[in-house]
Amino acid sequence: MTTCVHTFKCCGQRIALDVPSGAVHVLSELAFEMLQRIAPPLAPECPASLRYELAKYDSTSVSEAYQELYSLYKDGLLFSEDVEYEMPPSGVVKSMCLHVSHDCNMRCKYCFADAGEYSRGRKLMSLETGKKALDFLFEKSGKIHNLEVDMFGGEPLLNFDVVRELVAYGRQRERELGKKIAFTITTNGALLDDEAIDFINSEFSNVVLSIDGRREVNDRMRTFVDGSGTYDTILPKFKKLVERRGDRDWYVRGTFTRENLDFAADVIALADEGFDQISIEPVVLDESDPLAIRREDLPRIFKEYDRLAREMIRRYRQGRPFNFFHFMIDLDEGPCVYKRCKGCGSGNEYVAVTPDGDIFPCHQFVEFMPMKMGNVHDGSFDTEMQRKFAGQSILTIPECRECWAKYYCGGGCAANNYKYKGAVETPYEINCELERKRVECALAIKAATAEYDEQDA
């Protein structure tokens, strides 16, 4: 059994995370310093050596702080012991990324999907293939009631008729089978008209709207086929969709590259346009690409996450908060331990299906033919590969076992590991460092907003 407490400072907050229990403590300077000097097992009384080491504080204060930490220790909220969880077996597929279009009406410079083609030519999914993919999902979902299908591409609205037909087919089959599909869609917005907006808002439980932030950043990266910028076309369409969306989920989602390491400005630009559900993420590209994030960029990116966190705290206090996807953290109703250990479920619970009906562990594996798992037309499915993915978790990857952020990260992205390190089980350390920084910022925002709420009460 191991224990692990991660202490850090961020946005003016002093925080201790007790990793096994998930308890998050905001500390005084004295308690923060004390925590650097103690290790389990803790004695009931404050050790004399501690008073000596912390002699700049008065003895009564040192004793009080020690007793507070000791009380958390006794309650299992500090230096708690990690548990060896037993993971459920594989065999169920419940989520599908449906590549209804391997074609795109944009030419984004960083696109991991190769302008929608995934290195295999332009193609739209037929209705027949889409239906077979949904049948595969229903068949493999076992006793799971809640299923998910993301309409993805390329640009899925290039195949809008098939999207509509597939939603209708899914609705019919879910009624017959007593299941429920949550449809989601990821769109670049170019083809969003009133009809598409109303259909998406009525049928899709989540919609991801691709835009990169500031006009100049967006238009440098996200262009139409003729090279012209897309910002002025998509922004009003996204605003219209969000205005009509009611309380259903949505996100504006962008990508940052080496060319806009000041990406906090892009998040803030989207917030200033009235969007309050925002995700901006590091680009996924081979390290040789000039747009790719490099190790030497990390200090700059960390500063940018800090800047963003401080701005979010400031706006929260001003009564105009917004959500940033990677700073969202739920300390009380978050995922169960199984989910925390297994992460995204790619190749096991989650698969992607291409226009040809080929099955891959997720949308990011589609460009790698050796990772093909089967095809919905001939019914093939590599259960051995599924078992391999199912067997991988933060408990089986040595770097993850030792990482303080493991229960928030879930083991990271297997596709990125494969792409950058050549093996799904080898963590891509740049991603690990980014994730750890984001978790620190998320916890600091929690601490700062809780402090404000307390003062305001």
Partner: protein, 53 residues
């Protein structure tokens, strides 16, 4: 307490040990598609419980 304020209202990790029902959302479907995280995911069981309160 003067020196420590615990942010969690409950000990979520302990409470969640019994779960693993598999009904929750796949994390990559929510808004990322490129950088997996689970911290922001909801437990469907717990969410339904609090909605029913």
């Amino acid at each position: 307490m003067k020196n420590v304020k615990t942010l969690n209202k409950t000990n979520s990790a302990k409470r969640a040990v019994a779960a693993g029902c598999g009904e929750c959302q796949a994390s990559c479907q929510s808004a990322c598609k490129t950088s997996c995280t689970v911290a922001n995911q909801k437990c469907l069981r717990l969410t339904k419980k609090s909605e029913n309160k």
